[in-house]
Symmetry: C2
Subunit: 330 residues, 2 copies
């Protein structure tokens, strides 16, 4: 496995972004609260910056105004000449690229933690862009151990345990999400929570997760070494659309036996959709997969009823301690 390089210096420039999707309320309200009172985001070696990523969509309580902000952080959009007819989110991505990037430059922020909710029954989910990102994997493992100390080694047996999902991109494909403007980052995805609703239980859970992410960065910055470990992860392999009529309308929906079963095994022959006409549609794949983002509201328009993932066991090498910073000369 070809690992990405790990940071060689303390992470000083860290941001926590919420409202990348304006109707995902846990991150929206936490960031609004931290903009009023940022004390919670301070650590000894750095202070994370709260950023409300999509203020217009947040004000309208919609995922986006013109297009999905979390898909437009590509060099094509970020470097094109600005035009008055640009979608709001493209303009906003350029602003965020100025604030937290520029993407792929030495001046970019060290880390962005991006806060999301899903209507799917995903529990606590940590999204990384690749299973080769040793630093991010250690952070996720730290969250698992910190939140579920008894069960971190037993992975799925504890429903409170955060799941790790890798959104591996195709070779050569450019990253496009909010965190990609920074040198590194992960997404937190908590559910189920309806769009436009703020549940106290998810807010509390997200707040605790953010604190643990910052604690991990603090530990790393102060020279902690982290030993090797094994962990389970889920890699997205493909998406599956709803059954539709010729006109493109829904012709059925997620089967009751699949609904709310994110991360559970889906075996060949099991029902996945229930047609309005009454019949069941069965999963015809050849191998067991692990569906996630089952019946996520925002994905209807993207033609996605759920994602199929494969389950992996990752052997993650140790994360060495930072070399001590040379003390200033006499």
């Amino acid at each position: 496995m070809c690992s990405l390089p790990v940071p060689q210096e303390p992470l000083r420039r860290v941001a926590v972004t919420g409202g990348t999707h304006g109707n995902e309320m846990s991150g929206v309200c936490l960031v609004q609260q931290w903009l009023r009172d940022p004390g919670e985001l301070q650590r000894a070696s750095f202070a994370a910056v709260p950023v409300l990523a999509n203020p217009a969509a947040t004000a309208a309580c919609r995922r986006y105004v013109d297009c999905d902000l979390n898909r437009v952080f590509t060099s094509t959009f970020l470097t094109a000449r600005a035009h008055p007819d640009d979608p709001y989110e493209v303009t906003r991505a350029r602003e965020l690229n100025q604030l937290l990037g520029p993407k792929a430059s030495g001046r970019a922020f060290d880390f962005v933690l991006d806060l999301h909710n899903t209507t799917a029954n995903m529990g606590t989910c940590l999204l990384v862009k690749t299973t080769h990102d040793i630093f991010a994997l250690h952070m996720c493992h730290h969250l698992q151990v910190a939140l579920c100390p008894q069960s971190a080694e037993r992975a799925l047996q504890n429903p409170e345990l955060p799941f790790l999902v890798s959104v591996d991109q195709h070779p050569g494909e450019e990253t496009y999400d909010m965190t990609s403007v920074a040198k590194n980052g992960i997404g937190l995805e908590l559910g189920p929570q309806p769009q436009g609703v703020l549940r106290a239980d998810l807010l509390t859970r997200m707040r605790a997760l953010v604190a643990k992410v910052l604690d991990f960065i603090q530990l790393f910055n102060q020279g902690t070494a982290f030993p090797a470990f094994e962990m389970e992860a889920y890699r997205i392999v493909r998406s599956v659309d709803f059954p539709r009529t010729e006109a493109g309308d829904l012709a059925g929906t997620v089967h009751p036996q699949l609904q709310d079963r994110d991360f559970e095994p889906l075996r060949p022959g099991a029902p996945i959709f229930q047609m309005f006409s009454g019949e069941d549609v069965l999963y015809e794949g050849e191998s067991t997969v692990y569906p996630i983002f089952i019946n996520e509201a925002a994905y209807y328009e993207k033609g996605i009823a759920f994602f199929q993932t494969e389950k992996l066991t990752l052997s993650v090498p140790a994360l060495p301690a930072l070399a001590p910073t040379p003390s200033p000369g006499p």
Copy 2:
């Protein structure tokens, strides 16, 4: 109690409306399915007409485009001269008034059943405009008995039992909702379901409820008499807003001990909100109330965290059989 007059003739003109709010997917998808294949809506004495109430909001998967359609069926809006700058929903309300009304006229439809979802944990809820509407109360009781034959007399003890909620208006206040264009109507409110999500379980439940409503009208039309009964009902008495900052942003959210407890008793001194700063806000009323629509997404912008209701026991008089229709002369 001053009862509304009951129908003296069979109900021939019946409509089932979905998509009054374009992101409440159970009604949207059922109506779309019935527009393709209306067989399910036929009974011996009538055929109900499926109506997609807000096509533009449905296409955008939003509650509304310009304003809440379910609030604009007032004579002010319906009779004002049309203007190109009218909100989309005002124009659409006039169209629906032509199709299903005119409101308060002899030509109006006999009955409109309006289909809704809520993000709140409301289970199955039947909304009537007044506890004086004998016909609607008999229909609701019929649904309770048909869906829960063992428990209809035991009201709250069965969680599957539909709750009856009365949105009593103030004396002299004009009705404004979708069903008000017809001579009579009720709303079905099923939850919890996120906006923009179609759950198979709620779809199946709503479909069964619609069938039972049509069955009741068929029974009434064919001369069935319905005996008197007692039933529990919840009358909305006031709304309660979220705690907010001076700027109007949320300063806290529904307390975990209140979340999902729709229709359960809320006693003085119990927590209702959890502030972001950590403190609890307690219910300071003097009597037990029964909160509903707790943390409904669409009500944030209306300044409503939940409604307080009072619990009533209604004594509903018998619904007499229709007088036999004179047979055609020789």
